[in-house]
Structures are given as structure tokens and as C-alpha cells.
């Protein structure tokens, strides 16, 4: 079973936010959407949960009451307590009393939030608040779980907690689609989609995406062509698309980050040549 969108176009006025994007979201797996701000990640996710209509293309999703959604900016009500958030969102899904407790108690327990039920969401740390948002999205026992940047701004310790929760949801049979700006997270997803300016820049399994870049990437102290170079930790990296032997530097086995950056550079350079 697989959900997703096919050849999705979304326009806001004269701006096209999505230009023919397709993504498959299979059950039992985590699929990642990667891209910077303005790439179209949020529009793609919102089109899956029915908050943005497509101008063209098709959407395959389960019944609305079996979709869980964590928005990028909120996810819970700051002036309500953890328990009030659970009760409120549970109510929206027709859950209350024993049925709601049976669903929410194990979620709060695993998210390490069972001890802070009375605390206002606005008084939780950033990481705890994202975990609460995750629990709320999990309340409908979703067949499709859509998470918009669950880990942005979350510290490394809470990021690991979130990852455990997300991978468990997939292992229990949900189809999970999440957006992220952290490429190490995308690298451990079953498949990923890199968006740039509303278009699909790269897609496939992490292995396929990393293998799709032509040429050679070198680690170097000086860049021979700054337009093809970038900083990586303490070193500089430079891409030679034609694979010709670089004069300086050491050829490396590229990671996902190298491939995404090199592909973005290529797109920027192509754009300059063909305005």
C-alpha cells in the first residue's frame, strides 16, 4: 500500500510553489523531503493532508480521520496543558475517556511526557513541545503520518528521542512522510526527495541519490573554481562535474550533503546560463 502525490502543481497567484512533483509514501517506511526554505516542502506536505488544493495532478491518501499531521510552526496549543492538548485533539478525532487514555497513555509514556501532563505546552522545552506535537499527530492511529520539520531547532538529545518515535511509527505500519533540513536524518530514511524551487532536484533511495552525481568531489585547501566549491567542516570541497583529474586535493567518497550541494550549485549555474 502506498500513498502520495503524482505530478502535483500548486500555484499561489503568479508563483508556482510546486511544479510537477511526485512522491510515493509506502507504509512501514519513512520517506524524507529535503530542501531549503521556499523549496516547496511545506506545500507538498499540506497538499497531502488536504490543506492545499492541487491545481493539477493527483493525491492518494487514506480517509481524513486516519491522517496524522504535525505542522512546521505549531503542533500544539501553547496556553493549554499537555493533557488539555490531548483531550482537545482526541475530541476532534472522536476519542474521549477510556478510549483516548488507551491511545494517548503509551504515546506520552514513550515520549517521556507522562510526568508533565499538567504543564502548559508553552512552558515545555522546544524538544518536548515537538514530541507533544508528534503525540497529537499519532492520536488517530494514522495510516499516513505527515511531519513538517519535526526536528528543526531541536537539540541533538531530543532529536534522538524524536527519531526513536518516528521509526517506531513506521515499524508499526504507518506510512511516514517527513521534511527535514538535516541530511543525516534524510540519509537514514528508506527513500528521499530533494526539492529546489518547487521542482524535484533528486529522488530515490539515499544510495541511489548519492550515486547519481557525475564527476568527482575533492577535499582541498584552495578552490580552483569557487563557483563549484563549498565549505565542509574544516575543509573545502570542490566538484569536478566532468570527472577530469583535479590538480590539487584528494578525491572523496561523497555523502548525501555533498551531492545535494553540488546539485544545487549546478542548478544555480544552469539558471544563470539560461535565464
Amino acid at each position: 500500500m502506498s500513498y502520495g502525490v503524482s505530478d502535483a502543481w500548486v500555484r499561489f497567484g503568479s508563483q508556482a510553489a510546486l511544479r510537477g512533483v511526485s512522491v510515493d509514501v509506502p507504509t512501514g517506511q519513512v520517506t524524507a523531503v529535503v530542501g531549503g526554505d521556499g523549496a516547496g516542502k511545506t506545500t507538498l506536505l499540506r497538499s497531502l493532508v488536504g490543506r492545499v488544493g492541487l491545481d493539477q495532478g493527483s493525491v492518494a491518501v487514506p480517509a481524513r480521520e486516519r491522517i496524522g499531521y504535525l505542522p512546521a510552526t505549531a503542533g500544539s496549543w501553547l496556553d493549554m496543558s499537555v493533557q488539555e492538548n490531548i483531550d482537545f485533539v482526541g475530541g476532534a478525532y472522536g476519542l474521549a475517556g477510556q478510549a483516548l487514555a488507551q491511545r494517548s497513555d503509551p504515546l506520552l509514556e514513550r515520549a517521556d511526557l507522562a510526568g508533565v501532563r499538567d504543564r502548559l505546552s508553552g512552558q515545555l522545552s522546544g524538544g518536548m513541545r515537538r514530541k507533544l506535537g508528534f503525540c497529537l499527530a499519532m492520536l488517530p492511529d494514522p495510516e499516513l503520518l505527515v511531519l513538517d520539520e519535526p526536528s528543526t531547532g531541536v537539540d541533538p538529545v531530543s532529536r534522538v528521542d524524536l527519531w526513536r518515535l518516528i521509526s517506531e511509527a513506521a515499524a508499526n505500519g504507518s506510512a511516514v512522510l517527513m521534511s527535514t533540513t538535516y541530511l543525516d536524518e534524510a540519509e537514514r530514511c528508506a527513500s528521499l526527495l530533494v526539492l529546489h524551487d518547487g521542482r524535484t532536484l533528486l529522488s530515490g533511495t539515499p544510495h541511489e541519490v548519492v550515486g547519481s552525481l557525475p564527476g568527482t568531489i575533492v577535499s582541498t585547501a584552495t578552490l580552483s573554481r569557487p563557483d563549484f566549491g563549498w565549505r565542509h567542516g574544516r575543509e573545502l570541497r570542490e566538484w569536478f562535474p566532468e570527472g577530469r583529474q583535479p590538480t590539487g586535493g584528494v578525491a572523496i567518497t561523497p555523502g548525501l550533503e555533498d551531492v545535494v550541494i553540488a546539485s544545487s550549485l549546478k542548478l544555480a549555474l544552469d539558471g544563470e546560463e539560461q535565464p
Binding site: T152, V154, V160, R164
Partner: protein, 302 residues
């Protein structure tokens, strides 16, 4: 008693045994640190470690309960603050002003001449900041912070939510500033960024628990790296066994783990894996610290 008068002019900011209490909560405990011109100092720690409180004390936005903070060798004042460029996490821009208006306003607040709009923002000069993508807003916040040529740049998670190429470009700007003699204090959650700093400070539970190079900050902490075809299975087996599991790509790692014991746990669960001991990452050091803190729940941090 002569310490203050001997404060080196190149020490742009420093804290001496600074503590800060909010009620019974010790947000910062006995922290001494400094930033000199030309260096990029990374301030690391989990949420609640005390990073932002320390920065607010260094900037003079709040006072210390004990100890002292110095900016340019003197207690923070309005005048001292004019030599700082500060980019808070929230960016501090005016959403209902355009890019050009934000630059003009910032320049006038620092009594600077009207600036020209930087080339990489020129296309957006008349766009309201609220209508800009986050990456572009971050570039503008940088441009505003650099307008008055500050001696010290303080950046609170400067690249959170930014795509990889923009992140690399923002770090180019940070290094250019440091090369020109500016001191930079930067908080980050992103470990690859920590590696770009000349020096690291690691906070946990309000205290400065380690400082120096990446190697110094990691200390003797080790990790066990577990390579397997089914990372999800290995992850959940070890998680259930109460291990401090993290992920690196599709490798499972356990900070402070015992390789032999982990091997037995995985074998018992029928998960084949290749296991080896490796030096810990900064991220793992932070996970170990956070776990130790959860267990001990120091009464002073109730």
C-alpha cells in the same frame, strides 16, 4: 584586584565566575570564559543547558547573580554594546518593513550612513521581510548585524532550518569576519558547524563542563558503532535494553557502550551486526551528559 585593569584589549567578552539564579533555579553556575578577536568560539549544549542565559549576561541584557561579565574590558553598557553585532534565533527583524527599510533603520540606530543593499539581497530590496523565505531573512539579519562593523559577533543558532548550500555560504561569511579580526561567539546544535569553530565550550546543567578542541570536549567518552542491514531492528532492540542509542546515517551507535555486552544483546535478539569501538562524537558526549543529569536530577536544578 589588578585583574580588571590587565584585561587584554583583544578579549572582546569574558565572564568571570558568573552564576545566574531564577528563583531556586540555577540557570548558569560559575562559568568563566572569553572570546578574543579573530577567533570563532562555539557554545554547545542541549536545550536548557544555560547557553542563552549566558549570552544574555555577556550582552548585559540581564545581570549576573554572582561574578562579572565584561564587554571590551568593561561592564556591559549601551556604549559597549555598540561594538556588538547580535543575531538572535528570532532574527530581530521587522516583518512589516522592507529589506531596505530594515537596513536603513538598523543603520540609523547605530548612527551609520544609509547603507546600500548588499548584492545578494538587491532583488528583494522592496520586499516586506515577512514575505521573505527564512534563508533570505537570515542573510538580511547577518547584513544588519554587520552594518556597524562590530568587533564581536554573537550568533544564536545562525543556520537552523537553512538548506545545506546556504548554510555553507553563511559560514563563509562567519570565517571572513573572523579572518578580518572579528571575534565570533556562535551557538549551534549542528555538529558539523561545531567542527568549524577554533574553540568549543560545552555547557550542561548551567555549568561549563568542557572546553577546547573537539577532542578536548569529547574527553575520554567512547562509543560503539553497530553496522547492520536492519538499523531499525538493532535500534529498537538496544533502546529496549536501556542503551543510549543514537544514529549516524544508517549505523546505530551507543555512547559509552560496552561492545561485548551489546554484541550479546543483539545476538540474543537475532540481529546480525558488525560491532566496533570508536571515539565518541560531540553529539554523543552531550547525550551522555544529558542522561547523567536526568539520573542525578541535581536538587539545585529542581
Amino acid at each position: 584586584m589588578t585583574r580588571q585593569s590587565t584585561a587584554s584589549p583583544t578579549l572582546l567578552t569574558q565572564s568571570r565566575a558568573v552564576s545566574k539564579r531564577f528563583g531556586h533555579f540555577n540557570a548558569v553556575v560559575d562559568v568563566s570564559m572569553n572570546v578574543a578577536g579573530g577567533e570563532v568560539v562555539g557554545l554547545l549544549g542541549a536545550n536548557g543547558a544555560g547557553k542563552t542565559t549566558l549570552i544574555r549576561i555577556l550582552l548585559g541584557l540581564i545581570g549576573a547573580s554572582e561574578g562579572e561579565a565584561l564587554l571590551m574590558g568593561a561592564p556591559p553598557s549601551r556604549e559597549q554594546r555598540s561594538s556588538i553585532g547580535y543575531v538572535p534565533q528570532s532574527l530581530g527583524l521587522y516583518d512589516d518593513l522592507t529589506v531596505k527599510e530594515n537596513l536603513d533603520f538598523t543603520a540609523s540606530a547605530y548612527s551609520q550612513a544609509r547603507p546600500s543593499v548588499p548584492a545578494d539581497l538587491a532583488d528583494h530590496a522592496d520586499t516586506l521581510v515577512g514575505d521573505l523565505a527564512l534563508g533570505t531573512q537570515r542573510r538580511l539579519a547577518f547584513a544588519c548585524a554587520l552594518l556597524h562593523r562590530p568587533a564581536l559577533l554573537v550568533l544564536d543558532e545562525p543556520t537552523s532550518g537553512v538548506d545545506p548550500l546556504s548554510r555553507a555560504r553563511l559560514w563563509d561569511t562567519i570565517h571572513q569576519q573572523a579572518d578580518a579580526g572579528v571575534g565570533v561567539l556562535v551557538t549551534t546544535h549542528y555538529m558539523q558547524e561545531a567542527q568549524q569553530c577554533h574553540r568549543l565550550l560545552l555547557m550542561s546543567g548551567g555549568r561549563l563542563v568542557a572546553q577546547g578542541s573537539e577532542h578536548d570536549v569529547i574527553g575520554g567518552t567512547t562509543a560503539v558503532e553497530i553496522s547492520t542491514d536492519d538499523w531499525a531492528a538493532a535500534f529498537s532492540v538496544l533502546e529496549r535494553a536501556g542503551e543510549a542509542v543514537t544514529l549516524d546515517g544508517t549505523d546505530v551507535r551507543v555512547a559509552d557502550g560496552d561492545a561485548h555486552r551489546l554484541q550479546l544483546v543483539l545476538e540474543a535478539a537475532g540481529v546480525p551486526a558488525r560491532i566496533r569501538s570508536v571515539p565518541a562524537t560531540i553529539e554523543e558526549r552531550m547525550t551522555v551528559l544529558a542522561r547523567a543529569e536526568r539520573v542525578s536530577s541535581t536538587p539545585t536544578r529542581s
